[in-house]
Structure formats: C-alpha cells, structure tokens
C-alpha cells in the first residue's frame, strides 16, 4: 500500500467508524439515557476515537517482504498499535475506567476480529467469482 492508497483507505475507514460510533452511541442514549444529547466534548471524543482507530493503518505503507510470517507479524503489530491508540483515546475522554476495561477490551477484539473476518469472506467470495469466470473460459476453450 502506498501513501496515497493508505490515505484514501484511512479516509473511508474514518467515515465508517465515525458513522458506526454515532449510530451505536445514539442507540444506547435512546435506550438507556432517554434520548440525551451529545455534548461538544463527547462529539470530539467520537472523532478522536475514530481517528485513533485509523491512524495505525499507516504501518501498511512500510514495505516488507511478503512472507506469511511477516504478514501475520504486521497484523499483530497493527492490532496492538490500534488497541493502544484507541484505549488511549477512550481513557482520555473518560469512556473507559477500571470497571469496564475488560468489557472494552473484549468489544475491541470482537470488532477487530469481525472486520478481519469480513475482509477474509470478501476475498474468498471474489476468488470464487474469478474461478467461475476462469472455468467458463476453459469450457469455451474445450469446445
């Protein structure tokens, strides 16, 4: 991934994360806080957490030898970096304390793993479609 691609991906990811945050926090507010409104500080917090979650994407710009081991290692580093920046942002805005730290950690792992699983499924789905087209080409060659 070059810098341009990374910035494009980060912009899209930032919008997706901010929208998802707004949706879930609004939903929780409606259910548990009788439709309480966001304060400017909370809005800033939402943006900061979204920014913290996309910034570590920059490690994908670093050129590495693409062996299976180095790719896994890079994903692990990305996971730890993202965990660090997101938790730092959550703590800064007072959204995480010692009581809900474990729940936050599990939620983070759940969302991170979910995003990876979606990416994996999309990759497999595309490979299946490409293989279908390849089979059609090979069938055409046989005729």
């Amino acid at each position: 991934m070059n810098v341009k691609e990374a910035l494009k991906f980060m912009s899209v990811l930032f919008c997706v994360v901010t929208t998802a945050e707004l949706f879930f926090v609004s939903l929780l507010n409606m259910i548990f806080a009788s439709g309480a409104l966001f304060t400017p500080l909370e809005m800033l917090g939402l943006v900061a957490v979204a920014l913290a979650s996309v910034l570590p994407t920059f490690i994908y710009v670093i050129k590495i030898k693409k062996t299976r081991r180095s790719l896994i290692l890079r994903d692990v580093v990305h996971f730890l970096l993202t965990l660090g920046t997101v938790v730092a942002a959550l703590v800064t805005f007072g959204w995480v304390n010692t009581e809900n730290a474990l729940v936050t950690l599990f939620m983070f792992i759940f969302i991170y793993a979910g995003a990876h699983i979606v990416q994996e499924i999309r990759g497999r789905s595309l490979a299946d479609k490409l293989n279908e087209k390849l089979n059609a080409i090979h069938d055409g060659d046989k005729k």
Binding site: K66, G123, L126, K133
Partner: protein, 144 residues
C-alpha cells in the same frame, strides 16, 4: 455479421477492414488477436527459438532481465516487460504485478493470499502472485 474473404496476389500486403457501426467486445478481441504476432523470439543460452503465444504461461522481469516461462522451459527475452506486454495478445495476457504478465488461459485456480492479494495456480503447477493494485484490472477483464 457478413464476413467477406478475398484472395489477393502474392505481392500484395494482407489487410483487414471492419465496416462497423460501433466497437464491440468481439471486434476488440479480433483486433487484439490480429495485432499480436503468433509467436515471439526467445532465447536459451543465446540461441533463438520461436515461441507460440499460446505456449507462454507467464513472463517475469527479474533484475531488469525478462524471462518467459513455458510449461517446462524458461526462456530469456531481449524485450523489456512493457515491450513484451505490447506484443502479447491482450485477450489472453494480463499484467498481474509490476514484475509479472500471465496468460489467463493457463490459470487453473485463484485463491486469496492475504493482504488483499491473490495467488494464481497455473496449469503447470507454478504459482504467481496477483498484486492488490492489479486486482481491479483482473476483475474488469473477467467482467466483475
């Protein structure tokens, strides 16, 4: 479509004229086929060989040298990879990374390889990586 084939004398240059209202995929494919030579000159130990395009599995650029891979043999080409790409039939050959052009008809299977890349398994058992940047071109080629 009406097809007219005219015999010409030995001295005359062969030519093809398409009388069409608009370009179609079939016409584009026909033009690509007509434009590319049937065989290329490749080398082993400095000795030249003609190699039919349909026998090429893939071409690769390594350290500014271009290698052409057939089912079992590896040949050198004196052309740069981009020059070779110009000559190869665009119906069959596709750039899949900065270093590799593959014959789509020789791909047996495609599988995800992580990092948004794909691994193409060829009919001779070899495997080549499809870079993330070239996946959109592959999708377009396959009409996806």
């Amino acid at each position: 479509m009406k097809i007219i084939i005219q015999d010409i004398s030995n001295g005359e240059e062969e030519s093809v004229i398409f009388n069409i209202r608009a370009m179609s995929d079939n016409i584009t494919r026909a033009i690509n086929t007509l434009k590319s030579p049937e065989s290329l000159t490749v080398y082993i130990d400095g000795q030249a060989f003609p190699l039919t395009q349909s026998d090429i599995f893939y071409a690769e650029s390594v350290d500014l040298k271009t290698f052409v891979y057939a089912e079992k043999k590896v040949y050198r080409s004196k052309l740069k990879l981009y020059e070779l790409e110009e000559l190869l039939n665009k119906n069959d050959f596709l750039r899949i990374s900065k270093q590799v052009i593959v014959n789509v008809r020789k791909i047996r299977n495609i599988a995800p390889a992580g990092d948004s890349r794909f691994l193409a398994a060829l009919a001779n058992g070899e495997k080549v990586i499809i870079s993330r940047q070239y996946v959109p071109a592959l999708k377009e080629r396959f009409g996806l």
